[in-house]
Amino acid sequence: MVDRPDVWHRHPDALWRIGGNGLLVLPPGAVEPVAVSGPGPAVWELLAEPCTADELAGALATTYTGDPDTMVSDLQQLLEHLHSASVVVRAAS
C-alpha cells in the first residue's frame, strides 16, 4: 500500500490579510494572528485550492530557486506548523 501525500488547504474559518511583512492569519479560537513572512503570501494564495507539498513546491519553483527536495521538506515542515496552529487543514482525499 502506497502512502498518499497529505493534501492541504486553508482552514475555512481562518481570517487573514496580506500585511506589510507577509501573511497574517487569525485561526479560529486564537487571539493572536500567526505571521508568515517570506513565501507565506504565495503559499497562502496557492492554498486557496487543496494541494500537496509537492504541488506547492512546483508552483513556487517559478519564483524561488533551490533544491526541489529541500523545498518540499521545508514546505512540509511549514504546513505541519500551520496545521498545529489551525491555520491549514488536511483535505479529505
Binding site: P12, D13, L15, R17, I18, G19, L24, L26, P33, A35
Partner: protein, 365 residues
Amino acid sequence: MSDVLAAIAAQGLLGATVEAPATPFDDAAFDTMLGEAVAHRLTGYLLWSANDGRLRLTDDQLQHAADVHDGALAVCLRLERLLLDVHGLFAAAGIEIRVLKGPAIAHLDHLDPAVRTFGDIDVLVRSEDWERACATLTDAGHRRRYHEPRPGFDRRFGKGVCFVTPDGYEIDLHRTFTSGPFALRIELDDLWADGQTFELGSTKVTALSREHRLLHACYHAALGSWPPQLSPLRDVALLALDHRTDHQRVIDAAVRWGGGAVVARAVQGAWSRFEIGDVVGISAFADRYRYSDDDERDLAASGGAERSYPAQAAASIRAIDDPRDKVAYARAMLFPERSYIESRDRGYLRRLVRAVRLVTRRGQR
C-alpha cells in the same frame, strides 16, 4: 502635514490629483506623519503609497510603517472575529443585521481589504429588534457604555449605542446612521430593502447596498467629527467614483430623506480634499445643490464647527413630525433618567445648564 495625509488617503482614488511631497522625510517628520496616519487609520494607504513610489521613504521608515500597519491589521482580524461572534449571537436570536463601515468597505470596495483598517465594528439592526439586540449583547457579557435617556428613547429616536467587550473592543450597535435631525428623516426601511454579502472565513455576512454605503459614508463624513476625517471622506470618494454605483439612486434617496445637504457637503468635501477633477453624477448634484436656510441651520447644529448638544436637540425636535413624539423627545432631553446621566458621567448641574440653554434657544425662535 494635513496635505501629506490627504495625498496618502487619496492613494488609489482615480481622478485625485493631490500630490505627496517629492522630497524624502527626515525621521522626525516621518514619525509625525506615521502617528497621524495611525490616528486616521491610513497606514494601509501610507504603505501602498510608499510601495507605489508616490511617497519616498527610507528602508528603515518603510519597515517601521510595515510593522505599525501589521499591528493595525491584527486588530482588524480580531474585530472581524468579534463580528462573526456577534453575527452568530444575533442569528441565534433571529435578529437580522447589516454590517456597516470598516469591514464592509474593506471587503466590498477594495481589491485588497488590507489597505482599509478600522478600529471597531458597527452593526445595524431594525428598530423593532432594538431591545432584543441590546439584551443579546448584554447577555453575552458585553457592557453597554451609556444608558438611554428614558425607556424607549433609543428605539424611537436614537442613533444607537456602544457596547464594550470584556477585552475592551467596541461594538457600535446602530438603529440608524447618526443622531440629530438628518437621521430622524432617514426612511430606515429603505436600508433593509436590499444588501450585499461578503465572506468572513466560511460565513456570509450582509452589508448595506453600495448606494446605501455611499449614503452612510456621506452622513459620517458630513455629520461626524469636525473637521471631517480623511477616512470617511475617502470612503465617500471611493464609492462615488466606483462605476458600479447608481448615482441617481443615491440622489433620489438623499432627497427623499431630506439629506441632500448632507450628501452635497460630504461630496464637496471629498472632491475638495483630494482635488478630484472628475465630474460624476453625484458630484454634479453636489455642485448645483443650493442649501436652504433649514439646511444651513441643521448642518450647523449637527455637523459644523459650532455644533452643540442643545442645538442638535432643538433641531431634532423640529425634524419630528408627530407632536406626541416631539414631546417625548423633549422630555427625554430635558429630564433624562439618573442612570443615563450617571453613565455619561455628568452631573445634574451641567444637565440643567444644557436644558436651560435649550429652552432659551427655543424661546428665541
